[in-house]
């Protein structure tokens, strides 16, 4: 079958294996022929080529809930369970996932493999900070448990390890208690990047915090943005949202011609969005779906970028140099006549000990670009800017970073390799990304 990530670039042909349960998964991994390499695949929400290989091991049928302990707020479930399904069972019981990325389609296995982050990273860390235990199928077919106590080095390599240590079959997660499923949102307007940074720093204790940025604004308006802050509302309302998209089937049925997304339309969209937000009331109470997953409302929105797909570019840089770096990046993009449709800025908290996890203390900027040949030289320029400022790129979104860039910006890659070769000496697990980054051949 044709396989691709959420960005629809690159595309490859792959064989899809869908084990019916964890025994079938173990059997498949241990019986695998020598030559083929495989990588686990959850819901295909990583953007680039991190879940692409000759053989894709789908966690689709590993979607059981095993146990929900409501005294301890602990849930054990299969790796194929999607975060949205967890929310559905948690919210009526007054529980919530401590970390939510921008889409609820992500599988638990994928969330661990990419060690995803949410709008509360500055307070609560990334997804794996709330993972107590993982069951992992190794290259030998053996099923091992790993946690901070049991096989800790394997745990540290698997959290954020992009599926290269084995296939996660199930996980035990800590949940948070919440008063309601609604979020009180406050939005602050910033007329330029400096103001935006100020707002972020002033509201560092806000539970959720993320800024939308007008990437196409230039000169004195450079970095004009809206900072969205959120707190759980103190009502008893624990409704499960159903989005318009789910109710009315709103979606993009096929790839729209990519010329529709050009600098003029993006500029118009961004400017009008900023204008509307500026005039809107600055506080509102929103359902969790609307607050956390605005893009899930339009299913298959990735098709808006045309059949060639798009690339996301997300980097993190330390706070000291963040302002300079982001200004540089935005200027370079506008110099080259490119633009990002959606641009998001967020401040991260401290990093964790996972070897390949992306999040570290500093600022992260996310941009998306339509895939076109002239984009790649620009992204290489941006790589250089990011690297000079001691930053790095997010593996779950990357589809093109060079091996040098990766190895220079992820200092723990050698430690990771040592653990990988211990548990996977014959390189059973490899993705197009790991080959490109020189982690596997």
């Amino acid at each position: 079958m044709e396989a691709m990530g959420w960005g629809r670039y690159p595309k490859t042909t792959a064989e899809l294996i869908q084990p019916a349960d964890s025994q079938a998964l173990q059997k498949f991994i241990s019986a695998q022929k020598k030559s083929a390499s495989c990588i686990s695949r959850g819901s295909g929400s990583s953007y680039g080529d991190s879940a692409l290989a000759e053989q894709l091991v789908s966690s689709r049928f590993l979607d059981n809930f095993f146990e929900l302990d409501q005294q301890q707020n602990v849930l054990r479930c299969g790796a194929g369970v999607k975060l949205g399904d967890i929310l559905k069972i948690c919210i009526p019981r007054g529980l919530f996932l401590p970390v939510l990325p921008g889409t609820k389609a992500v599988s638990v296995g994928g969330a661990i493999a990419a060690d995803v982050h949410g709008k509360n990273h500055h307070l609560d860390g990334s997804f794996c900070a709330h993972v107590q235990k993982i069951s992992l199928v190794l290259a030998s077919g053996e099923l091992v448990a790993c946690s901070e106590q049991e096989n800790p080095e394997l745990f540290r390599a698997t959290c954020g390890g992009m599926g290269l240590t084995g296939v996660i079959s199930d996980a035990t997660l800590s949940l948070d208690s919440i008063p309601s499923s609604y979020i009180n949102q406050r939005s602050l307007i910033a007329n330029n990047l400096a103001e935006c940074f100020e707002h972020i720093e002033d509201n560092a204790d806000s539970k959720y915090s993320v800024a939308w940025l007008d990437c196409l604004a230039t000169d004195k308006n450079l970095g004009r943005s809206v900072l969205y802050l959120g707190e759980h509302a103190e009502s008893e309302n624990r409704e499960i949202d159903t989005m318009y998209g789910e109710r009315f089937g709103l979606g993009v049925p096929f790839s729209t011609p990519s010329f529709l997304l050009n600098k003029t339309t993006m500029s118009a969209f961004n400017a009008s969005y900023f204008g509307v937000q500026k005039r809107k009331k600055s506080s509102a109470t929103l359902g969790y779906d609307k607050y956390f997953f605005p893009l899930d409302r339009i299913s298959n929105w990735n098709r808006l970028y045309g059949s060639k797909g798009f690339l996301q570019y997300q980097f993190v840089v330390p706070s000291e140099s963040a302002f300079d770096c982001i200004t540089n990046v935005l200027e370079r993009i506008s110099e080259k006549g490119k633009g990002s449709f959606l641009t998001v800025l967020k401040k991260f908290g401290e990093s964790n000990e996972n070897l390949l996890s992306f999040a570290r203390s500093g600022y992260t900027l996310t941009l998306d670009f339509k895939n076109e040949p002239t984009l790649f030289p620009l992204l290489e320029d941006l790589d250089r800017i990011v690297l000079t400022h001691d930053g790095r790129l997010y593996l779950a979104k990357d589809a093109r970073m060079s091996e040098e860039m990766f190895k220079a910006s992820y200092p723990n890659w050698e430690k990771f390799m040592a653990i990988k070769s211990k548990y996977d000496p014959k390189t059973r697990f490899a993705s197009l990304q790991s080959n490109r980054l020189g982690l596997t051949q």
């Binding site: 079958m1 869908q18 019916a20 349960d21 049928f61 059981n64 809930f65 095993f66 146990e67 929900l68 849930l75 479930c77 559905k88 069972i89 009526p92």
Partner: protein
């Protein structure tokens, strides 16, 4: 609501059971493998089912049907919906050449369901309410070269259901014949998939909806009604030459 699901560990059954669990129903599950039943039971409890019980049954052991169904009725204290989902997809070439194999497949996909329905019918008549839903297949609409043994067993059930529906009309019991098209599940793992394939979750939604509405014959997804209408309309002198 009290739901009995037979062949509960099949992909479509599992997806349907999850919808009923989220609605807070009580469920009784019947399938062949105990370990899988236990896993599914805990999954359904987490999803919100009020109670989940299960019993192991090899559906080709017809003699055991009565006892197992009796136990299920006692366990649930009456049944609002009985959903029969089990089945197996044989290799046509093999079963064509080996009657023993063919018999086994027809037993699994056809006769075992007749046996279950024979046991369920008096119980539903006594209750004077409820729905019995059976998953058959679009393969039963016309005998096609690549899977006519499977198709024959399914059409046996469909024909039986038509008659039974009339019989139970007076007792306020509805019979739903669900005919899924191509479903992407572990049962069809070996086939390459195309745009006509649908997910077990999509079929399950249709099942739950059609039981609630009291539908009769349901194609899932609905466009299979059109496809099978066209397939059925092809004149035999052409159809016999088609290999699809």
């Amino acid at each position: 609501m009290k739901i009995l699901i037979i062949g509960a560990t099949s992909a479509i059954a599992k997806a349907s059971a999850r919808i009923y669990a989220e609605l807070g129903c009580s469920l009784h599950l019947i399938a062949r493998r105990d370990d899988q039943l236990a896993l599914l039971a805990s999954d359904l409890l987490v999803r919100g089912a009020s109670t989940v019980s299960h019993s192991v049954l090899d559906l080709n052991k017809f003699a055991a049907h009565e006892k197992t169904l009796d136990a299920a009725f006692t366990e649930l204290g009456g049944i609002d919906i009985a959903l029969i989902c089990h089945g197996s997809l044989p290799d046509q070439e093999k079963v064509e050449q080996n009657f023993k194999q063919a018999q086994k497949e027809i037993n699994t996909n056809g006769i075992s369901i007749i046996s279950l329905l024979t046991e369920l019918t008096p119980k539903f008549i006594e209750q004077q309410q409820g729905s019995i839903a059976v998953i058959t297949s679009v393969a039963g609409d016309r005998g096609r070269q690549p899977n006519f043994v499977y198709g024959a067993a399914k059409s046996l059930v469909s024909t039986y259901l038509q008659g039974l529906r009339g019989k139970l009309l007076a007792y306020n019991v509805n019979i739903v014949d669900i005919r899924p098209g191509l479903v992407d599940s572990p049962m069809t793992a070996q086939f390459p998939k195309g745009p006509l394939w649908s997910s077990p979750e999509c079929i399950a939604q249709k099942i739950v909806k059609s039981i609630r509405r009291g539908s009769h014959t349901v194609y899932a997804p609905g466009y299979w009604r059109v496809i099978m209408f066209v397939v059925s309309a092809i004149p035999e002198f052409i159809f016999k030459r088609l290999k699809f």
